[in-house]
């Protein structure tokens, strides 16, 4: 897909090591953009069972903006349901059949294919998203699962708790592209790779931060291979633990907990999933550095993680199984004070309480101790077998 002139540009821009992810908008990225003036890259952006929140999130990107990314990389969006000028057949006809980048937003209903359709089949019936995805993904150079639904099934895959209407636990059989919750496969098989050789790049989040998408595109189009964790998420975005960078962390360490959202204190007891959730939003902040969920007193709901919804449900109650090593959270908080006094510091405390890992073993802080349930998924086992390697291939 990368033409000759683009290769030259990549050489110019290619000062980063393979495996790196452009995680910040830098002057280097800016100048790389400026030189990317040759050749059009075709993008197809599909929506499955989506709320369009990921598209709206991307519109909030500032460094770079969505329009800069599209314009300066000369990305031609051949299909995007919300933004494109065309409609109907003309819209379908303009869609690239072998896109450079295929983006999916929203999950794919596999048990009830008619629950998300787009356009018509030759016989005049509605064409299910699952067909679109299985046709287009193998033809794409890069495939991006944008948001928790497209990556892991997300919201539509949340449990039908009362087993209503004989439609099963997963109402429509909603799956992500290569995962269903924390398990493989999704719609595509575990061995699926796009033309670039990469699996589906998952950008979890409900919604994901716009930078995650726009900088991931910058990374791959700069010719770098992003280092992915075991859920195929780019590591720099999904390695930090929310809990580590939370503004209320000091309250946790002192054992001072809020009674309700909005109160002063650590929000752990009102359901905060921060100790189990990985993203760098605490430092990156949202909406041009404005704020982040925890900064306004709203507990983290774990939206960046596979299994989001039921893994942290009920969202308003203390995440269970914090007691991994027999230390309840209040004791742990108090222990942290003591530990601080004797100079052991927060890392030791975290080990005590089992909130993620801190020893840089490369698993993105996703050790079993950090998981609020003890089930070991396929992906988990694979990861374990690889002694810290995160990629699933």
């Amino acid at each position: 897909m990368i033409d000759r002139s683009r290769r030259n540009f990549l050489k110019l821009a290619g000062t980063m090591a393979t495996g790196a992810v452009v995680s910040r908008y830098t002057t280097e990225v800016a100048s790389a953009y400026e030189q990317a003036t040759e050749g059009d890259l075709e993008v197809v952006w599909l929506q499955g069972q989506s709320c369009s929140g990921c598209t709206i999130s991307m519109l909030q990107g500032q460094y770079p903006t969505l329009e800069e990314t599209l314009g300066e990389f000369r990305m031609e969006v051949t299909f995007h349901p919300t933004l494109m000028p065309e409609q109907g057949e003309a819209a379908i006809e303009s869609m690239s059949t072998s896109p450079d980048v295929l983006v999916l937003e929203g999950s794919v209903p596999t048990e009830m294919p008619s629950a998300a359709t787009l356009g018509k089949r030759p016989d005049g019936t509605s064409k299910p998203l699952v067909d679109w995805v299985t046709e287009l993904a193998p033809e794409a150079e890069y495939v991006i699962g944008l948001g928790n639904c497209a990556s892991f099934g997300g919201w539509p895959a949340a449990e039908n708790k009362n087993r209503l209407h004989d439609v099963g636990e997963n109402v429509t059989g909603a799956k992500g592209l290569q995962f269903e919750q924390r398990e493989q496969p999704g719609v595509l098989g575990p061995d699926f790779t796009a033309g670039s050789g990469l699996p589906v790049i998952n950008l979890g989040g409900c919604p994901p931060h716009p930078d995650y998408m726009l900088l991931t595109i910058a990374t791959v189009l700069n010719g770098h291979t992003p280092e992915l964790d075991r859920y195929n998420r780019p590591k720099p975005f999904y390695e930090p633990l929310v809990h580590d960078n939370c503004k209320w962390r000091g309250y946790f360490d002192r054992g001072e907990f809020a009674d309700k959202p909005g109160d002063e204190g650590c929000l752990y007891k009102v359901g905060c999933a921060g100790p189990y959730t990985h993203c760098d939003d605490q430092t990156r902040l949202w909406n041009d550095g404005t704020s982040v969920c925890l900064n306004v007193g709203a507990p983290c709901i774990g939206c960046m993680e596979p299994g989001f919804w039921d893994r942290f449900q009920p969202l308003d109650q203390e995440v269970e199984q914090q007691n991994v090593f027999g230390v309840d959270v209040e004791t742990a908080g108090l222990a942290a004070v003591g530990a601080g006094v004797v100079g052991i510091g927060v890392h030791a405390t975290r080990k005590l309480t089992g909130y993620g890992t801190s020893d840089g073993n490369g698993d993105g802080g996703q050790s079993e101790a950090g998981d609020p349930d003890h089930s070991t998924s396929d992906a988990d086992r694979r990861s374990g077998a690889e002694a810290g390697g995160d990629k699933t291939e």
Partner: protein, 511 residues
């Protein structure tokens, strides 16, 4: 007869298609098809009422704040009816209104500039008006920049946008200080300056007609008025006519008087009828004759057997249900609000659109533009009235048994959430969205939905490019994510319906 299928309809939110039959250049039959189902209510049942706001708040990433507030109001109403909750603090109500107002501005900007505006741009319709060419025009790009500022303002209170987490049952879980409020105001003012002064509308109208552009009178205003003028010239006033029946839940309570800026009630037979919450709730029923839900799922959202998905149902063509008010279709949205409240700033609908309460494609755009100015002028007042040092959260109970209804009025029109809670667990849940009112399917009596009726009778000049149909569809600002899972099962359990406590179902009780 020619059959036209438009799938996807694009530049709306969600999956939608339109099936048309055309005879002698005129549309004789229209079927509006919602093409996605997720099962939001099925998923919501069995969970904590607090989680309802988290979960249903995410049914739509465009209308994110509206559903969180609508759901919170339903569970709060249920808790109040159960005698377990005293209500939301006054300044949380003001903050919800102010935030919804900022959301209105954001949504109207996105709709006018990025979704419907391009229909009148040079790129799409050879109008010579290239400022709204998608992703290229200066007006389009300017709107993208300004919508980001409004989202920043929303994130100051909500933590992030879209999908802010701070709006929860019991109030608003945020602790803004005076500086935060000032920052929000300055963001809104920046966008306000881009938009331009309300009183400049007549001058801008003249500018646009003379091909002049005066940024001092507002770049945004010039572009919006350009859309309206282009739409008028393209004959939009003669397109998409509706039955002139409107419904609104009302919004923007004046903190001093308690009156709403936008009134609650309906407009029919040429006059507005103010209504209480109880009258509104009693008037609503849903029909599933042409929906992919079982036939015995129809009825009042507070009582009827909840709908059960039936994807193979004969004759069905939409994942949406057909809500009706006292048996009739009702148009909802900016035009409905302004018609019910009697507002027509600068007589734009009277002079351009054939009358202030005339339902047509042009008037829907005009009303949205007028409303953007009305709300802009209102938001700063609400922020002035908001005291960040006042309590914003009340204790919300975990364990209660009761039923509740949350009426809310997002930018696209009326929204209602219905919940039955049994011992702290949701036993039944239902949502009726604005888009269902406007673009759902026909009902068992054969009455077409608002959009289906609006399109029938219109001419199609070019069946290869039915742009006027698209203009009419987009004039409703349809948003389908939330509309296609309107399914509220109650399963095999038995729910005890608690009678509403005095005041609980009235206009006064929970607003």
């Amino acid at each position: 007869m020619v059959e036209i299928s438009i799938d996807p309809t694009t530049r709306i939110e969600g999956h939608h298609g339109m099936e048309l039959e055309v005879e002698e250049g005129r549309i004789t039959e229209a079927r509006s098809t919602m093409k996605m189902f997720r099962g939001a209510e099925i998923i919501t049942v069995g969970r904590s009422p607090r989680d309802a706001a988290q979960l249903t708040g995410k049914v739509c990433g465009v209308c994110f704040i509206c559903h969180r507030i609508g759901s919170s109001r339903a569970t709060e109403d249920a808790a109040m009816n159960a005698g377990a909750f005293d209500g939301v603090p006054e300044h949380a109500k003001i903050l919800r209104d102010a935030t919804e107002g900022i959301f209105f501005l954001w949504n109207h900007a996105i709709h006018l500039f990025a979704l419907v505006g391009p229909d009148y741009s040079d790129a799409v319709a050879d109008t010579g008006f290239d400022r709204l060419d998608p992703l290229e025009g200066d007006g389009y790009l300017g709107a993208l920049e300004n919508q980001r500022k409004l989202m920043q303002a929303l994130a100051e209170f909500g933590g992030r946008a879209p999908h802010p987490l701070a709006f929860v049952p019991g109030g608003v879980a945020t602790n803004p200080d005076a500086a935060t409020v000032e920052t929000v105001k300055s963001r809104v003012r920046e966008v306000s300056n881009w938009l331009g002064p309300t009183e400049a509308v007549p001058d801008v109208l003249e500018n646009v007609q003379n091909g002049a552009f005066d940024p001092d009178l507002g770049e945004g205003l010039h572009d919006i008025v350009s859309i309206l003028v282009a739409a008028a010239q393209e004959g939009a006033a003669d397109l998409g006519s509706g039955p002139n029946r409107y419904y609104s839940n009302g919004l923007f309570r004046d903190p001093d008087s308690g009156d709403r800026i936008f009134k609650r009630g309906v407009y029919r037979d040429g006059s507005a009828e103010p209504m209480t919450k109880e009258e509104i709730v009693e008037g609503i029923a849903e029909d599933t004759e042409y929906s992919y839900y079982t036939d015995d799922s129809a009825g009042s959202p507070t009582e009827a057997k909840p709908p059960e998905p039936d994807p193979e149902k004969d004759g069905a063509y939409s994942w949406g249900k057909a809500p009706r008010f006292e048996g009739e279709t009702m148009e909802v949205g900016p035009l409905a609000r302004l018609a019910i409240s009697g507002y027509d700033p600068f007589d734009l609908r009277a002079t351009l659109g054939g009358g202030p309460a005339e339902s047509n494609t042009l008037n829907r755009l005009v009303a949205r533009a007028q409303e953007a100015l009305i709300v802009r002028d209102r938001v700063l007042g609400l922020l002035d009235a908001f005291d960040p040092s006042a309590p914003l959260m009340a204790d919300f109970p975990d364990d209660y048994t009761g039923t509740g209804v949350g009426l809310w009025e997002p930018s696209r029109g009326t929204l209602s959430h219905y919940v039955d809670v049994e011992g702290g667990t949701i036993e039944r849940y239902q949502i009726i969205t604005p888009t269902l009112w406007n673009i759902g399917p026909r009902d068992g009596e054969g009455n077409p939905s608002i959009i289906e009726g609006a399109i029938v009778g219109d001419e199609v000049a070019d069946i290869e490019d039915p742009i006027d149909v698209m203009r009419t569809i987009r004039s409703f600002d349809p948003c389908l994510a939330c509309s296609v899972h309107v399914d509220s099962p109650e399963g095999s359990y038995e729910t005890v319906l608690e009678p509403a406590s005095p005041g609980g179902m009235t206009d006064v009780g929970d607003d």
